[in-house]
């Protein structure tokens, strides 16, 4: 039985007619249990829609999305989702954010077991010293770690990572990539990673599958990554197989775009222009006029 299956899935937004925007078209994908698959694509190509479909936040218009053979009808904590912009609750501490997930999902555990579990996962992402801090006091990398801990703490069957690292600076990104790789080695969960970085896909995944440009994006030919694990970034830079695959995927992606100058690697890695949402500005607005 496959962990995740997409069968001829299409998804669009808006009413029928010329203004309707088809985001995904004829998506066929199957992910084995325990596999780490990376979907790579440009920003705006519908990557988040893809992951929302398997998470259950959105429903397909055509086709079916299956989780372990069963159609996905609703959200469920057994499919743990790590959000692109962390989505931590700003009024809760690190502990509180993870506890919210554990308390609502692991109802069968005693309070003591829950507490141990919460602390265990915070320790796993190396945040024990910041356990009583609120998200506002944490850096972007630390916030994303909390988000990962929150998703893992409910012991999901699969882990969905929606561009988890794209809002981080390059150095923090590297550190967190290593952490995700280590956690995966240990837990061996099925992971679906959405990313916009070829390197990230190659470092972490068993298969890298590109998503073509929208509208009506579909999956391109898959690239099987046979590199031995653990893949250390420093070694990879000299690994001929790695370099070959990177060039190949990059060339495929830039062909999609029809770009000339496909030789310059640095230019081809599309860095997203993403900022974490900052709803605190909203409260600043409200109070400025009453004060």
């Amino acid at each position: 039985m496959k962990a995740i299956e997409f069968q001829n899935v299409s998804k669009g937004f808006g009413p029928e007619g010329p203004n309707r925007e088809e985001v995904l078209k004829d998506i066929n994908l199957s992910v084995e249990e325990g596999e780490f698959v990376a979907i790579i694509g440009y920003s705006g190509s519908g990557k988040s829609t893809l992951i929302n479909l398997i998470a259950g936040l959105q429903k397909p218009d055509v086709g079916s999305v299956l989780f372990r053979g069963q159609p996905v009808r609703d959200c469920d904590p057994e499919r743990g989702l790590v959000f692109q912009n962390y989505s931590l609750l700003p009024w809760l501490t690190v502990y509180g954010n993870v506890a919210l997930a554990v308390n609502s999902v692991c109802k069968e555990l005693s309070p003591k077991e829950r507490d141990e579990r919460i602390r265990h996962y915070i320790e796993m992402v190396n945040l024990s010293p910041a356990i009583d801090k609120r998200p506002a006091e944490l850096s972007g990398g630390m916030r994303q770690r909390v988000s990962v801990a929150r998703a893992l703490a409910t012991d999901p069957k699969i882990l969905l990572l929606d561009e988890p690292l794209s809002a981080l600076d390059a150095l923090t990104r590297g550190v967190l990539q290593n952490e995700i790789a280590q956690i995966w080695e240990r837990e061996r969960k099925t992971v679906l990673l959405i990313t916009n970085s070829v390197d990230e896909g190659l470092l972490l995944a068993d298969r890298v599958i590109p998503l073509t440009l929208g509208p009506g994006a579909t999956l391109g030919p898959e690239f099987v990554v046979d590199l031995p694990r653990p893949r250390r970034r420093a070694d990879m830079n000299h690994n001929p197989e790695y370099i070959r695959m990177r060039t190949e995927i990059t060339a495929y992606l830039s062909d999609l775009r029809g770009d000339a100058g496909a030789q310059d690697d640095d230019k081809l890695i599309p860095f997203p222009n993403l900022q974490p949402l900052d709803p605190s500005e909203r409260s600043a607005h409200v109070f400025s006029w009453v004060r």
Partner: protein, 338 residues
């Protein structure tokens, strides 16, 4: 330490004291002086100027009960009210003492009969009236909050509920307290007839009118706050499959608390304004009744007494607003670092 004091002061609305504290601590004294001048000296000067203009203009206006009082007279009347209050206290204490003595003698003579003390019959002092007003406004404010917050949450969570309630809200919102009062008084008289009333009817009518007029800002702000909860946070609730109760308690309420408190603050302000009118007509023994009684007595000091009441109402209103601002600052979470 210093920064914490300053931070606390700013949170409770005493930000204007910051330069004084910095000056005392010897932090950049040259920069603090202009700030002190602007934050403290200018407001004091403008109040003094206001009093001077008032003092100069007031004696020129003749009314049928004498000239309009200047600030000096008003001030001395305020002192008079304070003296009256102290005397009132004394009389009350004497009355209580006398009652206690009588009780002892009564019980000696009739050990088998029960003693009923005679209540104090003096009219309430100005301070008592202030206390009654505060009690009434908070009673009304509490009723308003208990009604408005749940309805606001419902409106914010369901656009259907909002669509249904919106016309009622929009039509009832602009109604004046003076229009509500007769209805409320008749209804209270008809429906509230217990043998041992816990509340005076006038108190109840005033509080209900305050509630009717002050619940709207809280209701609307709660609805806005709940409907504008961050979509990502709601997605977290969905992914974790939180039940409705947990969703409201852990996600929706904390997220909309800043909005709710803004609404509560506006509500208390409206309630305090409405209260005076309600008390005047319902004869609830608070500041509104004080003003009305003074107006009816029309002696030479009437205007001065009423002006004392006006200033009192203003100061208490300001204090209530500061109180709510402090609460509002305490519950608003900061999402940005620092």
């Amino acid at each position: 330490m210093l920064n914490r004091i300053i931070h606390t002061l700013e949170k409770i609305g005493f930000g204007w004291l910051t330069p004084v504290i910095r000056l005392c601590a010897g932090q950049a004294p040259k920069e603090q002086l202009p700030l002190i001048a602007k934050g403290i000296l200018v407001p004091i000067l403008s109040v003094v100027l206001f009093c001077l203009v008032w003092a100069a203009a007031a004696p020129k206006v003749q009314t049928n009960i004498g000239t309009v009082p200047g600030p000096g007279e008003v001030f001395s009347q305020a002192g008079q009210l304070w003296e009256d209050h102290k005397e009132h206290r004394e009389r009350r204490a004497q009355h209580a003492e006398r009652q206690a003595e009588l009780q002892v003698r009564f019980e000696e003579r009739f050990p088998d009969r029960e003693w009923t003390p005679r209540p104090f019959t003096g009219s309430p002092s100005y301070m008592d009236q202030i206390v009654v007003s505060l009690k009434t406004v908070f009673a009304g404010f509490l009723i308003a909050s208990f009604v408005a917050i749940p309805i606001g949450i419902l409106c914010g969570m369901s656009s259907t509920v909002y669509a249904g309630l919106n016309p009622i809200i929009q039509i009832l919102k602009p109604v004046s307290p003076l229009a509500w009062l007769p209805i409320v008084m008749i209804l209270v008289a008809a429906l509230y007839n217990p043998a041992n009333p816990m509340f005076e009817r006038a108190f109840l009518s005033s509080a209900i009118v305050v509630a009717l007029c002050s619940l709207w800002p809280t209701l609307i702000n709660t609805a806005i706050g709940v409907s504008s909860v961050d979509k990502d946070h709601l997605n977290v609730a969905k992914v974790l499959k939180l039940g409705p109760a947990t969703r409201i308690w852990k996600i929706i309420l904390p997220s909309s608390l800043p909005y709710i408190f803004t609404g509560l603050r506006l509500s208390l302000g409206v309630g305090w304004m409405v209260l005076i009118a309600a008390e005047m007509l319902a004869q609830n023994p608070g500041l509104g009744k004080f003003i009305w009684d003074m107006y009816q007595s029309s002696s030479s000091s009437t205007l001065a007494y009423i002006m004392v009441a006006v200033i009192t109402i203003g100061i208490i209103g300001f204090a209530l607003d500061r109180l709510m601002l402090t609460l509002q600052n305490l519950v608003s979470f900061e999402e940005k670092p620092g």
